[in-house]
């Protein structure tokens, strides 16, 4: 250290006073260091969500700027009584449940491969990170081109009808959308599950093996119960993320043929139709849905989630 301590340090003040001023300065420093980040985080979340609530109670249509005014909850009743919202809500939940379920199974399989492989772990980890690094929009285009009847190679594969028009029907579109979502986000799931997997004491497996447990029994009786916290954390984040599905659907179908998600509905109302009142009502409803999902997870598995947070 080049900083020279004073040769004769000033005598310490009375201990309690010194300690409390130290605590006070530490407290002040802590708040000062956190303030910029906290302000930046609140700037685009707290204020806009309040503003969204205000907008949702008004008749704001930027195409007709002269009209407007407070309309109470009529935007909400308009949204909630429309078939479109419920269709989109169904679509969103369907995509969310199926893709998260597939990701969990696939992610677990990949995590086990990464953990237990007797060789080639590096190769697996490397290739698993590729989907993570790719822009969601790019991945959506790649799968769209692959499944398109004109340019794609998928229809040339065995067992798949040559003339199948994947984007010509609602549920075949969902199949491709879910496939793209699963491809893009399974790596994240696998890495979170792997983090839970490595914390399991390998002696448990040895003991079970000595007792004659089969591989399947070891998985269901040891791995799954001990990984519950990690699984719940991974499920929570992926479920919330999947509920916000937007990019893939926008690129693949733009919501045609009843394939819209709630986020696409919000975007269409807000940006395409410039109806800020109705659009904000949709936004607030989406916010409430996300809040509800998070609440259910935290209420249902609160302490388990706490254990499962690797960093927290």
């Amino acid at each position: 250290m080049t900083v020279n301590a004073p040769a004769n340090p000033a005598p310490q003040k009375a201990a309690p006073a010194g300690a409390s001023s130290r605590t006070r300065s530490e407290r002040k420093l802590g708040w000062m260091l956190c303030a910029p980040a906290v302000i930046a985080m609140l700037l685009v979340t707290a204020y806009p969500i309040v503003y969204a609530v205000i907008l949702s109670l008004q008749d704001v249509d930027l195409r007709f700027p002269d009209e407007g005014g407070f309309v109470g909850l009529s935007n909400y009743t308009a949204v909630l009584s429309s078939d479109l919202w419920w269709t989109d809500f169904f679509n969103t939940v369907l995509i969310m449940v199926i893709s998260v379920a597939i990701e969990l199974v696939l992610g677990m399989a990949i995590a086990l491969v990464m953990y237990r492989a007797i060789f080639g772990r590096g190769v697996v980890r490397t290739s698993v990170l590729i989907p993570y690094g790719i822009i969601t929009v790019v991945a959506a285009f790649a799968w769209q081109f692959a499944f398109s009847p004109e340019t794609g190679f998928v229809n040339n594969l065995p067992l798949i009808p040559d003339e199948k028009d994947w984007f010509g029907g609602r549920f075949s579109s969902f199949a491709v959308i879910i496939m793209a979502e699963v491809w893009k986000t399974t790596p994240f799931m696998a890495l979170l599950l792997l983090a839970g997997l490595v914390t399991i004491d390998s002696q448990l497996y040895e003991a079970a093996r000595v007792d004659g447990a089969t591989a399947w029994q070891r998985f269901t009786r040891i791995t799954l119960p001990l990984m519950k916290p990690a699984i719940l954390v991974a499920l929570l984040f992926r479920t919330l993320d999947a509920f916000r599905v937007f990019d893939t659907i926008f690129i693949m179908t733009r919501g045609a043929l009843d394939t819209e998600s709630v986020s696409i509905l919000g975007y269409n109302q807000l940006i395409s139709r410039l109806n800020l009142g109705l659009g904000s009502a949709v936004s607030v409803l989406i916010f409430l849905c996300v809040f509800l999902i998070a609440f259910i997870f935290v209420r249902g598995f609160g302490t388990k989630l706490e254990e499962g947070r690797p960093g927290g």
């Binding site: 260091l33 930046a40 806009p48 007797i118 822009i135 937007f246 936004s283 960093g311």
Partner: protein, 280 residues
């Protein structure tokens, strides 16, 4: 346990499946981008002839007429600026949370977690309206601000996890030697924290690079439109040709560097993703 040759066969199959699963879309994009227009519909996975016309068309006309150069500059610029600001703010915050004792830090961590779960679409309408009033619509700053907000939780969680691993005594030792808390931070902790900071920076950059919702909602022209948004609005050479080839080429241009980057720093990214664990 003995490793039988059957084990090797099974593992080889499992690993091959994972690798194929991960690589197919990328190889497919490269394949399409290299196909000349007349071969685009041949449905072959491996192109029969190779042409670089799609790549040339991306950069044709220089910065003013090319549909791709400006969005690329916007993407890189916006992502770099956001990453720099986000990492500075998150480092201060994470340092305070990991090292100092003050009331409210649990609230900050919980708040950051809540923002990581926040649906961005819920802020798009208000931001669109506010940005138009404030003149931030279709500007770099108009995208940097929301990216900053939504990347901070990720950065804070990754950094707190890394900072907690740093040997605490060294900082005290520096303070005993007469360094101020700020000096102890910049001279001792920062060098030790650099790997964690770098990891957080990679993750934040990828997050900004990937965003699509804000990019199409808060921009209207090449002045600030980023690559994902520009790709969605790509048009063909004429109104009768589909832009498939140029989209594929542009996709390859923005994907390959990131993949190389991710592969070089894979260990750090894996560590960061599991430490942060707030964003997919």
């Amino acid at each position: 346990m003995e490793r039988s040759s059957r084990d090797y066969v099974l593992w080889t199959i499992a690993i091959t499946l994972v690798v194929i699963f991960a690589l197919i879309p990328v190889l497919w994009l490269i394949s399409i981008s290299l196909k000349p227009p007349e071969a685009l519909t041949d449905q072959r996975f491996i192109p029969s002839e190779v042409s670089f016309d799609n790549y040339k068309s991306l950069f044709e006309g220089g910065i003013d007429d090319s549909p791709f150069i400006k969005p690329l500059i916007n993407s890189i610029g916006i992502a770099l600026i956001t990453t720099a600001i986000s990492i500075v703010l998150a480092s201060f915050c994470a340092y305070a949370i990991a090292r100092l004792d003050f009331p409210g830090k649990r609230v900050i961590l919980a708040g950051a977690l809540a923002i990581a779960m926040f649906p961005p679409i819920s802020t798009v309408g208000p931001l669109f309206d506010m940005w138009r009033t404030l003149g931030l619509y279709d500007t770099w700053l108009g995208l940097i601000i929301p990216y900053l907000t939504f990347s901070l939780p990720l950065a804070i969680y990754v950094l707190v996890a890394f900072f907690r691993e740093i040997p605490w005594e060294l900082e005290q030792a520096a303070q005993v030697d007469g360094a101020t808390p700020f000096q102890a931070f910049t001279k001792v902790i920062v060098p030790l924290a650099a790997p964690g900071v770098f990891t957080a920076a990679i993750l934040v950059f990828i997050f900004c690079w990937n965003d699509f919702l804000f990019a199409i909602s808060l921009t209207s022209s090449d002045a600030s439109r980023t690559v994902p948004a520009a790709l969605a609005f790509f048009t063909g050479e004429s109104s009768f040709t589909a832009p498939t080839g140029s989209i594929a080429a542009a996709a390859v241009v923005v994907t390959v560097p990131i993949i190389i980057f991710v592969l070089i720093f894979q260990r750090r990214i894996v560590a960061g993703l599991t430490a942060g664990a707030v964003k997919g």
